[in-house]
């Protein structure tokens, strides 16, 4: 779910080779290049910023904690991370990625040209990754590196297909993320029960997640009974019941997400949504058509109305981005894939009571393995 990101990322982002050894990144890079013909690309120019960096992080572990960075990832040889600013600020950056070659980037095209000049055996055939998030000026500057300013192939779709199927080490990180989410949700519930204000409850949940090693925690909460969600802006004294919250936890580069409703009172809409979520999980098998899943939830909550925040969708892929493809919407032609991880959600409203609940699942060969559930 869309949420508010921070200007500057703080938290344990440094590369931990015990969690993701270099061989993991080497294997990812090899797998990516195996999908791109040699005639199309000999190196990839990868863009990332503090909000959008899934492609960059997947291939290098590097997270731009502030503003943006790029990497050149060749078919053969060591990637190089390109940074803005000054070489005096490289020491923190050296810890972030698993590849230790850093260079200064004053201008993207010059950086590409310099890299090509330094690698005389490499043909100047680039593919681009993650560049949809680039701002107009740096993007135009980057294109100046290529003949006629023509954009090379944007190959993010090829990488996304790889990223969708989670590798064993990725699943370990996601499972741990779900443990953190579970603990944070427990703190949220306990705070709610003990009479904490809405923002205090959310902040305590965030703190609990950080204490367990989360890199980032982003929460949204509702002040209108669960009809809409909002980010923190200032501490509020208000206690709310029901308390609808979205908690997103980042662990070792992987997001997990939970939509939670806490209430001390009977909540028939939540009960109905909970039932719909269970049905959704049961249907989540390889090859399941997304539109059928969405229709199943809509049918299960009838005569209740669809939840306004869900917008007819029942989740999305999740991993290094909070919202990975595919979006599980009612008009989708996608199917669920074995080996992929999804956040599945069900929601409904009767006009007064509203509820959104979710689960993290991995689709296995025979069905969904529930990694975490609000149910």
């Amino acid at each position: 779910m869309l949420n508010m990101h921070s200007l500057l990322l703080v938290g344990p982002y440094d590369w931990d080779e015990t969690v993701m050894p270099r061989e993991e990144f080497d294997a990812r890079i090899r797998a990516f290049w195996s999908r791109i013909p040699e005639s199309v690309g000999s190196f990839a120019v990868v863009y990332g910023d503090s909000r959008h960096h899934a492609e960059l992080t997947y291939l290098t572990n590097f997270v731009p904690k502030v503003r943006s960075a790029m990497a050149i990832v060749p078919r053969e040889g060591e990637p190089v991370i390109l940074l803005q600013g000054s070489r005096n600020s490289f020491s923190y950056a050296e810890r972030l990625g698993c590849y230790k070659s850093l260079d200064l980037m004053t201008d993207p095209a010059r950086a590409v040209d310099k890299w090509v000049a330094d690698h005389p055996g490499v043909a100047k055939r680039a593919v681009l990754l993650g560049t949809a998030a680039m701002r107009p000026q740096p993007y135009q500057q980057l294109l100046a590196a290529f003949p006629d300013n023509a954009a090379p192939l944007e190959a993010s779709h090829a990488l996304a297909a790889l990223m969708r199927i989670k590798r064993p080490r990725e699943l370990v990180a996601i499972r741990r993320g779900c443990e953190i989410l579970s603990a944070a949700a427990g703190v949220l519930a306990e705070s709610q029960r003990s009479g904490a204000s809405v923002t205090s409850a959310v902040l305590e949940a965030e703190r609990a997640a950080h204490a367990m090693g989360a890199q980032d925690v982003r929460s949204l909460f509702s002040l209108d009974g669960g009809a809409t969600l909002r980010p923190f802006s200032t501490p509020l004294d208000r206690k709310v019941d029901p308390l609808q919250v979205s908690l997103a936890v980042l662990n070792a580069g992987y997001w997990v997400e939970g939509l939670i409703v806490e209430s001390a009172k009977p909540h028939p809409v939540r009960d109905r949504v909970s039932e719909a979520l269970r049905g959704l999980i049961a249907q989540a098998k390889p090859g399941a058509r997304v539109r059928d899943l969405a229709a199943g939830v809509a049918s299960a909550v009838k005569p209740l109305l669809p939840h306004p925040v869900a917008g007819g969708a029942v989740g999305n892929g999740i991993g290094m981005a909070i919202e990975e493809a595919p979006r599980l919407s009612a008009d989708s032609e996608e199917i669920l894939e074995a080996g992929a991880v999804y956040t599945l959600c069900a929601g409904a409203s009767d006009g007064k009571l509203h509820a959104l609940l979710s689960a993290m699942v991995r689709v296995g060969d025979s069905g969904a393995e529930v990694l975490w559930s609000a149910d």
Binding site: S6, P12, V66, Y92, T131, R135, P136, P231, P308
Partner: protein, 373 residues
């Protein structure tokens, strides 16, 4: 000046510039330092795509995605009618079509802060004939409204409390990451909706940087920029802490920066170009024998501070080439931070408010070289 007066002034300028419609865009990606045209027109900090639509003589509206953000947007922008939309571009096309305004009389702002393809699509919507209107917003946003000044004061209170907490928590053996996470959380609990929190340590730092997994050691210098944002207004204080007791050399060097700061603060007043403030700092530090360390490669940018805000960071850098003339209610951080060969990088800085007669540091306690004992 209040928000409505600023908004009215922007609208009045639309007529002078031959614009019937002004559109301010943002996509919810917040880096700071760049114009958030939508936020400057609406007061709304979005998570996703949003566009403020200002008619010269008619209604003003705000279009936000996702559509369920409309309620929060309406609270932030009571002067606008708010519409939540699923997909911005078709909805905008319909809005523009309904008005029937010639593209030549449309101003667009904030496109440079959007993803390139989105900016291209918006330009195409007007046949690439809409006019860039960023400066129209910027020139009315360089001085803060009274409300923004109040928020800057509150943000500075939070920053100072954050620093007090930092002095309690910073100890040898503590990881920079852990300290930064705790400080960020603490300042959030005090009302900081976001925070540009730089923090790093070492025996001889070359620059301030984001935190890492490094564990602090006795004798280190811990550098920090604490920059909480309160209701859309960013502040910044810069501080240095010795992990242990400061040496006489460290104290002497730090005093050079303090003296530079004091000279700069005295120079900061209405009617004075920003470059004069920078020169005042440089004169002190250069006279102490550190001129070569106040420029590249030791100092990346020759600047002694920068504008503070969130949607707009004017009056810009406290730099030797910034000729912007200071005005009442401008807010910027003055920080003579720099590398000194005896100690490494040192930091001290306060947020300054330009008053009608001079300047006022928003922090109640100015920087001293901190010690953990």
């Amino acid at each position: 000046m209040n928000f409505q007066q600023r908004f009215d002034a922007i609208r009045a300028d639309m007529g002078r510039e031959g614009l019937d419609l002004l559109l301010g865009f943002h996509d919810g990606t917040h880096f700071g330092g760049s114009l958030n045209a939508m936020m400057m027109l609406s007061g709304f900090r979005s998570m996703g795509n949003a566009v403020a639509i200002v008619e010269r003589d008619g209604e003003s509206s705000l279009m936000v995605s996702p559509d369920w953000e409309a309620g929060r947007a309406a609270e932030c922008a009571p002067h606008m009618s708010v519409r939540g939309v699923v997909d911005q571009l078709p909805a905008l096309k319909e809005e523009i079509g309904r008005r029937g305004i010639s593209p030549d009389r449309v101003g667009v702002a904030g496109l440079s802060a959007l993803p390139w393809e989105q900016a291209k699509s918006i330009n195409a919507l007007f046949g690439n004939r809409a006019r860039a209107a960023d400066q129209l917003i910027v020139r009315h946003s360089k001085a803060k409204t009274d409300e923004e000044v109040g928020h800057a004061r509150e943000a500075t209170v939070i920053a100072e409390k954050g620093y007090a907490r930092m002095l309690e928590l910073a100890r040898p053996g503590v990881r920079e990451d852990d300290l930064a996470v705790e400080l960020r959380w603490y300042m959030k609990s005090l009302g900081a909706e976001d925070n540009f929190l730089m923090l790093n340590s070492g025996p001889h730092n070359k620059a301030v940087q984001p935190c890492s997994s490094r564990k602090m050691e006795r004798g280190d210098l811990l550098l920090t920029e604490l920059s909480p944002i309160y209701k859309g207004q960013m502040t910044q204080i810069c501080r240095t802490i010795v992990m242990g007791r400061a040496t006489p050399e460290q104290k002497r060097c730090y005093q050079v920066l303090i003296d530079g700061y004091e000279r700069g603060e005295k120079a900061a007043m209405p009617g004075v170009p920003m470059s004069r403030v920078c020169d005042a700092v440089d004169e002190v530090i250069d006279a102490a024998g550190y001129a070569e360390y106040g420029k590249p490669p030791y100092l990346r940018l020759r600047r002694r501070g920068h504008g503070l805000g969130f949607g707009c960071d004017l009056p810009g850098d406290v730099g030797p080439d910034n000729d912007i003339v200071l005005e009442k209610n401008m807010v910027f951080v003055l920080h003579p931070n720099q590398y000194l060969p005896e100690t490494g990088y040192l930091m001290c800085g306060e947020p300054l408010l330009i008053t009608s007669t001079g300047s006022e540091a928003l922090s109640t306690t100015k920087a001293v070289l901190g010690e953990t004992g």
